[in-house]
């Protein structure tokens, strides 16, 4: 056979093998740190393999193993596409962590993530498992009283019951949340818990007057960051008006105009006030030529 042809063929093959070799080259060093960094970027897919490697390299039960396993379980739970086998393996890993984690800092988080896994639909044909979720939330509350995760756990616990849309369960959840608030009056999520109570009164309990009152109470506790204020006031005003509580409705319509000046709801709030027989405050025009105001 032609020698030149052979040489070309050899060259091609060599190139191909080099290319393939570059694919199978070991991943760069950096280990767990890189993995956590990728978790920060929500790149669960990439960090999963890094955690897997780290877990294999460490002594089972050691702190390094626990850290890597927690990371791996979380990555399997959250990496996409969401596959059944990933979720099942994540559940197994969480269960192992929970088993060996008694008294260790990993326990509340492992329980929390396990609960969220049970409380969610992840893949086609997945079933929500509120029972497991409730058990996990209860365990966080009972076994890790000093963890900052107890308040989110309490919130999620009530959410599971309320979102079942069962009136009895929802009423029970409201009472339970009230007791929680009494026990931990300064808890950072108290206002959010109050908002959940308000939501439960709206659905499934269908008591708009109580819902409006609960929203007002939540605001008095200090609205959490992230609440879109104009929407919140609009909701309270409407609920109050629906429930016949004109006084609250008027107060909130007025607050929309005076406090959240740049909202699109202001004009309509003015009309509603007029309809309720109240002289509304004037509208603020952020686009006015002479507007210099830089406030809320």
């Amino acid at each position: 056979m032609n020698r030149r042809l052979k040489r070309t063929g050899t060259g091609l093959l060599a190139g191909l093998s080099l290319w393939l070799a570059s694919w199978s080259a070991p991943a760069g060093q950096g280990g767990l740190d890189t993995a956590w960094q990728e978790v920060g970027y929500l790149n669960y897919k990439k960090s999963a393999s890094l955690f897997e490697k780290a877990a294999k390299q460490s002594e089972p039960g050691s702190d390094a193993w626990i850290e890597a396993t927690l990371g791996l379980a979380a990555c399997l739970q959250h990496r996409q596409p969401d596959l059944q086998q990933d979720k099942e393996r994540a559940a197994e890993l969480y269960d192992r962590l929970i088993e060996i984690g008694a008294g260790k800092p990993v326990l509340p988080l492992a329980l929390m993530l396990r609960a969220r896994l049970a409380d969610q639909l992840d893949y086609y044909g997945d079933q929500v498992d509120p029972k497991t979720a409730l058990v996990c939330y209860d365990r966080i509350i009972a076994e890790c009283p000093d963890s900052p995760l107890i308040h989110p756990a309490a919130l999620f616990r009530a959410q599971v019951l309320i979102n079942s849309m069962d009136k009895t369960k929802a009423s029970g959840a409201i009472d339970w949340l009230r007791q929680w608030q009494a026990k931990y009056p300064a808890n950072p999520l108290t206002s959010m818990q109050q908002m959940l109570i308000a939501k439960a009164y709206k659905y499934p309990l269908q008591q708009p007057e109580k819902a409006a009152t609960a929203y007002v109470a939540a605001e008095e506790m200090g609205l959490p960051q992230g609440v879109v204020v104009d929407n919140y006031y609009w909701r309270v005003a409407n609920l109050a008006q629906q429930a016949g509580d004109t006084k609250t409705a008027i107060r909130y319509y007025e607050r929309i105009i005076t406090e959240v000046k740049r909202t699109g709801f202001a004009y309509e709030a003015q009309l509603r006030l007029k309809a309720l027989g109240v002289t509304p405050p004037p509208l603020f025009n952020p686009f006015a030529a002479d507007n210099q105001e830089g406030s809320k």
Binding site: W36, V39, G40, Y41, L42, N43, Y44, E67, L70, Q77, H78, P105, L109, M112, L113, R116, Q120, L121, D122, P152, L155, Q159, I162, N163, M165, L189, M192, M195, L196, K199, Y203, P204, P224, Q225, G226, V227, V228, D230, N231, W234, R235, N238, L239, R262, T263, G264, F265, Y267, E268, L283, N285, P286, F287, A289, N291, Q292, E293, G294, S295, K296
Partner: protein, 546 residues
């Protein structure tokens, strides 16, 4: 081998080699320039290829580079990368995924720049910077005011309600109005007064048509295309639905989304055949009858061309087109602008229409986001801060005749009619419950607007497809909503894990972020649960009926 033969054999190889060498030299040169040890370069990409825009931005860049050198003694270079609209998506996506994206990116078009999951992955949240005052405002009335509150809406519209942070800073804003040929208008109608009411608008159109017919001139009242048709439709259909919105907005968000409207439909709270919808479509038809013949087959540019040629007295477009339209008609005629007159005092329509949609909650445009991979985060923020002082935002927008976004920034007098109107209603009434509904209503809507189908026939069509595919569409949307919530869980888990391992939290806002995520998950979770329960109850009820 003769020279000729040699040339013939190797010319292809030579061209290829020359190209490769040229490309390599070019890359090496660029690398050397941008990575010069004494110059820091930030790159900014956008799809605004209008000449005015690039010049205006370059003016800001030049000023900033000089100021930076004066203040810090360090050279910086801000490089503009204008990319055509067509290639923008690919350019941004590949850059983001490949880790070579520019430092500042105009958000839009590309999935990488719009999808929340990508946004969280590739862009820096700007909330912490926006809460602090803009140092460039020192000595101005906006001194000490948090940066975000120096924008016309406090950047409320820019807040990402899913990711719970701000991811961009806008430079301009846009509104939509009717443009008219002042000279022709005066000539035909004998006045400069623009129509104050809907009926007056129709009368004006009628007179223009009569004028054209009597003089045998090919003049039409409004230059239209699907683009203009849609602008008119949005302006005239939604106001008929505001009352319905307030009646069916069960979660009090101010808007009725497709799922909410579907549930209300199944509960018998509205129908396509109701007088409200009939009136809305009739009104839209009345307006579109004033477009030129065959407008449905025309392009946006065809309509503008008709207007520029003085063959149409009016047309509709956004403030973004103002500079180009004015440039095209310069020396031919004077362009005027007025707002869409509403049928609030119309004998038939006023019972449905209380007013127009508000423009108080419009979003800022030209949204700049900072790429997470950028190694010059602080510099990027500094540049954006520099550009969004009142004076700079004003000069930038005045030079391209767009609307500024910073409080107190003055408009060019030409743009006065584009100043956003705060009087008006909030909301939207969506009915696109499924893809077939979207396609069929969209396809048939044009027939109503072009008078090839009566509103009644349209209602029958819409009803048929809505009832046939609604339930499946509803369930699909429910799954999609659940998936959105699932994405929030991914972000929450990441924050909880980082908190657990004690990862550095440079801004000290992790707890706040976790709180926001818990809130969003609560909102979404409850909404999905309520809708699912309501839907299941309705399905059961339907099954029970004989």
């Amino acid at each position: 081998m003769t020279l000729r033969k040699f040339f013939q054999t190797y010319v292809g190889v030579a061209i290829l080699l020359a190209s490769i060498i040229y490309a390599m030299v070019r890359v090496a040169y660029n690398e050397a320039t941008y990575k010069a040890p004494d110059v820091t370069t930030i790159r900014i990409c956008h799809w605004q290829l209008e000449a005015g825009f690039r010049d205006a931005l370059q003016e800001l860049i030049d000023e900033y580079e000089q100021l930076h050198l004066k203040r810090t003694g360090k050279k910086i270079r801000v490089m503009q990368l204008p990319v055509s609209e067509r290639g923008y998506s690919q350019f941004v996506n590949t850059g983001l995924i490949g880790g070579t994206a520019p430092d500042i990116i105009e958000k839009g078009f590309a999935k990488g720049a719009t999808d929340p999951a990508y946004t969280a992955r590739f862009f820096s949240p700007l909330g912490q910077y926006l809460d602090e005052p803009n140092p460039y405002n020192a000595g101005t009335p906006l001194e000490g005011v948090p940066w975000k509150d120096t924008f016309f809406d406090g950047l409320q519209a820019a807040y990402d309600r899913q990711l719970l942070d701000h991811y961009y800073v806008p430079f301009s804003m846009f509104t939509v109005r009717i443009y008219y040929n002042r000279d022709l208008y005066r000539q035909i109608l004998g006045t400069d007064r623009t129509p104050a009411s809907y009926q007056e608008f129709l009368d004006v159109c009628q007179r223009i048509r009569e004028h054209g017919q009597s003089k045998g001139l090919p003049i039409v009242p409004v230059a239209g295309s699907k683009y203009q048709g849609d602008l008119f439709r949005r302006r005239y259909e939604t106001p008929f639905l505001f009352e319905l919105i307030s009646q069916t907005d069960d979660d009090f968000t101010g808007s009725v989304d497709a799922m909410e409207s579907y549930l209300a439909y199944r509960q018998g709270r509205w129908s396509f055949e109701s007088p409200r919808f009939m009136a809305a479509w009739k009104c839209m038809l009345e307006v579109s009858k004033n477009f030129q013949d065959g407008w449905l087959a025309a392009q946006r540019d065809d309509a503008v061309f008709l207007f520029v040629q003085s063959r149409a007295v009016m047309t509709a477009s956004g403030s973004w087109d103002a500079p180009s339209i004015k440039k095209q008609v310069a020396g031919q005629f004077e362009v005027g602008v007025f707002d869409f007159p509403m049928p609030t005092d119309h004998p038939e329509y006023s019972k449905f229409v209380a007013g127009p949609a508000t423009e108080a909650s419009i979003k800022g445009g030209i949204p700049w986001a900072i790429c997470r991979q950028s190694r010059r985060q602080e510099l990027c923020v500094d540049f954006l801060r520099f550009c969004t002082t009142r004076a700079k935002n004003e000069s930038f927008n005045q030079s391209i005749t767009w609307l500024p976004v910073v409080l107190g920034a003055k408009l060019t007098p030409d743009l006065e009619p584009f100043r956003p109107r705060i009087e008006g209603f909030v909301g939207d009434f969506q009915t696109d419950i499924s893809t077939p509904v979207k396609m069929i209503t969209e396809g048939n809507r044009w027939s109503v607007l072009s008078d090839r189908m009566t509103p009644e026939q349209y209602a029958v069509k819409a009803k048929e497809v809505y009832e046939r595919t609604g339930a499946e569409g509803f369930q699909e949307k429910l799954v999609k909503d659940g998936r959105n919530n699932r994405n929030l869980e991914r972000i929450l888990a990441s924050q909880l894990l980082l908190q657990h391992i004690g990862a550095p939290d440079p801004n000290g806002r992790r707890d706040e972020k976790i709180g926001q995520l818990l809130l969003a998950i609560q909102e979404f979770g409850h909404k999905v649960a309520v809708r699912q329960a309501q839907f299941e109850a309705l399905q059961k009820e339907t099954e029970r009926k004989p």
